[in-house]
Symmetry: C2
Subunit: 245 residues, 2 copies
């Protein structure tokens, strides 16, 4: 059937079937290019193309010199998106329960709000905000990128700062100061990582990222908004949705 399909797809489909149905378990070696050319009677281009597609899909992983193997599907670590004003605490708990030691480094500076951020914070475009870029790590390996924006009037210091570990967010400080956060809005989408993100997160090829935009509201005022960039191959987001009926 579908004899007009590209040749390489025949190879892709056969190997994929064997991987998903367990004939080829995680760690099992995949036939090499030359073996594929012989086994399926295809050219080397088709064999190479098939392997590339499967690697891109994340089903196999190739290492120079030692061949392709079925990728061990990493267990997706849960990331609890909870009702707290201190996202680091939740992250730390999740990482620790995964048996790793969480750390965090950050750098804050004054910046102008680009249109999208301005809209999310309900401030005018290019108005001054404090931008904090954080890298969250587990056992030293980068796991998540966090960029948060606070209007300057909520920020503490407008001078560039750097540090590691906890940094009190605007949301946290306002909550402690008697202005409680009333709601958190999040939107989640998938996208291809930018080169710098791919670099910082040490992402293998083909991995997409979850981009989570979170905005903290105190009444009708947006207090802080953050962008989280999360490797799609290592995490799953966990939401608890209370039913108020």
């Amino acid at each position: 059937m579908a004899n007009s399909d590209p040749v390489y797809l025949r190879v892709v489909e056969d190997l994929r079937r064997q991987i998903v149905d367990g004939t080829l378990p995680p760690g099992a070696p995949i036939p090499s290019r030359h073996q594929i050319t012989r086994k399926y009677s295809v050219g080397e281009t088709a064999a190479r193309h098939a392997l590339r597609v499967l690697a891109q899909e994340g089903l196999i992983i190739g290492r120079v010199g030692s061949g392709h193997r079925v990728r061990e599907r990493p267990t997706l670590l849960p990331l609890h998106r909870t009702r707290t004003t201190e996202p680091l605490a939740a992250f730390a708990a999740d990482v620790q329960s995964g048996g790793r030691h969480p750390t965090c480094t950050w750098r804050s500076e004054l910046a102008d709000a680009p249109p999208e951020i301005a809209q999310r914070l309900r401030v005018s475009e290019w108005s001054p905000v404090i931008r904090v870029r954080s890298v969250l790590r587990g056992d030293g390996r980068p796991l998540q990128l966090l960029t948060s924006y606070e209007p300057v009037e909520f920020g503490q210091s407008q001078a560039p700062e750097e540090g590691s570990g906890e940094r009190r967010s605007a949301a946290f400080r306002l909550a402690a100061g008697g202005t409680p956060i009333t709601e958190i809005g999040e939107t989640v989408h998938v996208r291809v990582p930018q080169p710098t993100e791919s670099d910082l997160l040490e992402l293998p090829a083909g991995v997409q990222v979850l981009h989570v935009e979170r905005t903290y509201w105190a009444g009708d005022r947006a207090v802080e908004t953050t962008d989280a960039v999360i490797p799609g191959d290592r995490f799953r987001l966990v939401y608890g949705i209370p039913v108020s009926l």
Copy 2:
């Protein structure tokens, strides 16, 4: 710098820069393979490879005969993950506000709970469940796949059924019958679509999907669990997290 980088990456980076900074606006034509070989003094392989990578990243789209163009970035339709026992209602509202007409077809049948589903429903493996597969559409185009599982004791009819439009879920029927749903748990992750999903959703190459697992709880009893498969290039998930502090 980085002169040892693969040649095709030079092309990818140059074109990507032009696309993201707006030099090449959406719809603009991308140089063809032959033009790239001349302009960047690279071989045809490198040109081809560069175009493939950019297409895989979703930045450009190629059509046989008419060349590559910068992809119009589709606005990500919001999908509100709300505290309702009738997911179709939320979906319908979101699709309608996007100016499209929502429809739904479904098919229910008796099945044995595979291990993962059994665990989510807190029933023993391979115990009988009712499985409902739905395809949600907007203006006739498939937008989302939904598979839900209910333990037979909550299900209505064990005979295979088929239909379109509303189908009362176990969660809804229990709630109406006086057993209120107390919590909804969701986990979100990204993955490569399976061939059948790619087919049903008419996904272009390189698009990954959001996989949302939702479980309805009535007290400590799992009433129903659903898997939603959502094209990652067209939707973003929206969560409202009330703060109970």
